[in-house]
């Protein structure tokens, strides 16, 4: 999904590679937004937060993290509308 489609006609200022790179960057961005909305980035966000706030301590493993992450819903339902 994150792969860039082949770029097209050269534009006056960028040239084909510039345009292709921009397109690829845009698609990568969009893919990250999709992953974010689906909730798939939760572990990455945790890791980033962990290395920033508790540098030097080992972070939770991925499996352990996801287990706790989903189980949080058992005690915190969050609201949803009709």
């Amino acid at each position: 999904m994150s792969g860039a489609p082949s770029g097209r006609a050269p534009s006056p200022e960028g040239g084909p590679t510039g345009l292709r790179a921009r397109l690829a960057a845009g698609l990568r961005d969009a893919w990250q937004v999709v992953r974010g909305i689906s909730g798939e980035r939760a572990y990455e966000i945790y890791l980033e937060h962990h290395t920033r706030v508790h540098p030097g301590t080992p972070p939770m493993g991925e499996r352990e993290f996801w287990r706790r992450h989903i189980d949080r819903g058992d005690t915190d339902p969050g609201s949803r509308c009709c």
Binding site: V34, R35, I37, E40, Y46, R72, T75, R80, C81
Partner: protein, 734 residues
């Protein structure tokens, strides 16, 4: 002091009016004006549904650019130099600065469910014009304003809930009234939504099979995500969607096989019982098994179907066949729900125009994740505009149907009789003609035994959507597939809401009962968990059972109650918002919430008044009750739509309960309004600078664009910050 800092908020320089910009906005205004005049002025001739879409989109664009901007910067005075709770607290869990586009998606998925698909379909009995006007004007001036303002005030208070804000800013009375309102609306909402599912799936083996299959699919996804591929949400959801499509196709085979057909043919009462048991079991199981995977699945389906529908309407370009305005708008004799346009249109269409329930989302998860204050416009106002657009599409789906088919699907069974002939006669009596053959052919086209009295909105929406989808993909041959696809899509949302709603209700109940008996508050104490779950399920289960067996039609009777409860919650939210505007010295701008609050109060109180006191038995619960009680006293054995004494007794019980609830809702609104007025007067007397519970200003180090798409200036700042290594927003913006 907190309020004083709010005033020094940095107002960004408004975008310059370049000739190109003027041209673009002039064009938007012209498109909107032309579309509105086609929609509003056509009489007698059929117009294309695309005009509704154009009118809506142009109005949304103008409202977002001008009105929402005015509220964001002049009224709320958002301040991007102020760190949001997500930046200040940043605990890597519920407080995390989240990319605005991701948060927009989350927020939209949390506010939009089956609601905007149901209300507009029911309201279509008055024609497409009243519904369109209310959905679009309502969202611009009431619904989206409420969502954004509540989001803003909650964000300034570390994401406090609406109930907490009502208690702290208005007083304990208002707070308790808000709590009762939330519990009541939850119970009624779940009952009405569950009834929509029952009406859509009863006597329909195809629909019942595909919905039942969602349970093993969700379980499978849950186990896969927990034990095989933890964290691979997209992969798991993709597998789920494929299985879901297979389940719909499989439903077709089940339907064609006589033995299996019989096996999955459920009566209304069987389904009701099944749903109640399911609701209880699902809400005590751990979330990873059922709720979490189904949530992923419904988010996927939600976004996918909304996009698919918008694209299909543009390609299919269907014509609206229902008239612009029908006589039911004025005489209040509509078969779907009784009562005239004012006030009943405005409580029937809640989600999509103004929905109090959203205030719970805007004051829950979202304010804790927001990155920059100015993003409340895009996330609060923008998400609600998107939901409103979904409601417009639902209205389109209902209005492209043959009016005769529409009414045959939405009238109570007692009025239609059992055969297509009697139904055709009943519809003709309403002033719309439909032949028995057309009714049979329509049912055959979607491979259902009957489409008569499929009330609740979902089947009608599914029928309209099937017409639109099959015009673009697959033609007539695919009608039945698309119909059941749309049914399944709605039922999936509703099951998720039933499960999640029961849990939310349970937590509230545990919290409340915890005041009396401590262990109740421990959310992992099993006996407490089972007891409170059972109580909530019993609450909505009762209304569901009573509604399904109501001789007068459950949707007809209960939907107005749901609307009133939802708008009652909106009154709480708007009253809290107004209080905060006045308390923080912004009384001169308080009209932005006072006008929708006044409208909402007038609508809700008028509707409750009519439901309680109207002497017309079609509208007033107690007038209805008196009629049936009198007939029973006279020793009659059948009356109106009730064929026997037992049914007559049911009517008496139901109308008593419904009437008392209507009165209770009206009293709650009056209490909240009176209590809020007291605080407003106190604040105005004090010169309008009362202390509020706002968090003090902390300078922000983060930077992020305000709108959906970064402007040229914002992109330049982003590049500069990236170059200098300054902290920026999440990775998705790099």
């Amino acid at each position: 002091m907190a309020t004083r800092t709010a005033r020094t908020g940095s107002s960004p320089t408004p975008p310059k009016w370049t000739p190109a910009r003027i041209l673009v906005w002039a064009a938007v205004a012209v498109v909107g004006a032309v579309a509105w005049s086609v929609v509003g002025l056509s009489r007698g001739e059929e117009i294309s549904a695309a005009w509704l879409i154009f009118a809506a989109v142009a109005s949304y664009a103008i409202a977002y650019r001008f009105y929402a901007r005015f509220i964001t910067y002049r009224v709320l005075r958002v301040d991007d130099t102020r760190a949001t709770p997500a930046e200040r607290i940043d605990n890597g869990a519920d407080f995390t600065p989240t990319d605005r586009r991701v948060l927009f998606g989350h927020h939209f998925a949390a506010i939009a469910g089956a609601g905007p698909l149901v209300g507009p379909v029911l309201a279509a009995q008055m024609g497409y014009l009243p519904g369109t006007l209310w959905i679009i004007l309502g969202v611009i001036f009431a619904g989206a304003v409420q969502d954004m303002v509540v989001l803003f005030f909650s964000m300034r208070r570390n994401g406090k809930s609406l109930g907490q804000m009502a208690r702290e800013e208005i007083g304990p009375v208002g707070g308790i009234a808000a709590l009762i309102a939330v519990l009541a609306i939850m119970v009624i909402l779940l009952a009405v939504l569950a009834m929509v599912v029952v009406n859509a799936l009863a006597e329909s083996p195809w629909g019942a099979f595909s919905l039942i299959m969602t349970i093993p699919i969700a379980l499978l996804m849950g186990f896969y995500l927990r034990y095989i591929r933890p964290g691979k949400v997209i992969e798991t959801s993709a597998i789920g969607v494929v299985l879901l499509l297979l389940a719909i196709i499989g439903g077709g085979w089940i339907n064609a096989n006589p033995t299996l057909h019989e096996m999955f043919l459920f009566s209304h009462n069987e389904l009701t019982f099944g749903l109640i048991v399911y609701g209880f079991v699902a809400s005590v199981l751990p979330v990873w098994m059922l709720l979490a995977p189904r949530d992923y699945l419904s988010t996927f389906m939600k976004v996918g179907v909304v996009v698919l529908l918008a694209v299909s309407i543009i390609f299919a370009w269907p014509s609206l066949r229902l008239p612009a305005v029908t006589e039911f708008a004025f005489n209040g004799q509509g078969p779907t729900f009784a009562g005239a346009l004012f006030p009943f249109l405005f409580i029937t269409i809640a989600c999509g125009a103004l929905s109090g329930f959203h205030a719970l989302v805007s004051s829950g998860t979202t304010p804790k994740l927001i990155e920059k204050e100015s993003q409340v416009r895009m996330i609060g106002y923008g998400s609600m505009l998107t939901e409103s657009f979904v409601a417009v599409m639902a209205l389109v789906a209902a209005c492209i149907l043959d009016p005769g088919v529409y009414f045959a699907m939405n009238m109570p069974a007692g009025v239609l009789g059992d055969t297509v002939q009697s139904a055709s006669a009943a519809v003709t009596q309403l002033g719309f003609s439909v032949t028995p053959e057309t009714l049979q052919q329509t049912a055959d086209a979607v491979e259902e035994n009957s489409i008569l009295s499929r009330t609740g909105g979902a089947p009608t929406f599914a029928m309209g959507a099937a017409h639109i989808f099959s015009a673009v993909f697959g033609g007539q041959a695919m009608m039945a597939f698309w119909y059941h696809f749309a049914i399944m899509f709605e039922a999936l949302f509703i099951l998720t809401t039933v499960d999640a709603g029961t849990r939310v209700g349970r937590f509230m109940l545990q919290d409340t009962l915890g005041n009396v008996y401590k262990p109740m508050r421990d959310v992992s104490w099993k006996p407490g968990l089972w007891l409170t779950s059972a109580l909530i399920v019993a609450g909505w289960g009762y209304f569901l059972w009573a509604g399904v067996n109501d001789p007068l039609g459950g949707i007809n009777q209960l939907f107005p109650l749901f609307g009133i409860a939802n708008q009652l919650l909106a009154a709480v939210a708007l009253a809290v918002a107004t209080t905060l505007l006045i308390k923080s010295g912004r009384a001169k701008y308080a009209w932005i919430t006072i006008i929708p609050l006044a409208w909402d109060a007038v609508v809700t109180l008028t509707a409750s008044y009519q439901k309680v006191f109207s002497s017309d038995p079609a509208i007033g619960f107690f007038a209805q009750r008196a009629q049936y009680a009198e007939a029973l006293a006279d020793g009659e054995t059948s009356f109106g739509s009730a064929p026997d004494v037992e049914a007559m007794q049911k009517v008496v019980t139901n109308t008593t309960v419904d009437g008392v609830l209507s009165a209770l809702f009206a009293v709650l609104i009056i209490i909240i309004l009176a209590d809020a007025c007291r605080v407003w007067i106190k604040a105005l007397r004090a010169g309008g600078d009362l202390p509020t519970t706002e968090e003090p200003h902390t300078p922000s180090k983060l930077w992020a664009p305000s709108g959906l798409i970064a402007t040229r200036e914002e992109r330049e700042i982003m590049r500069e910050r990236a170059g200098s290594g300054a902290g920026g927003p999440g990775a998705a913006d790099s």
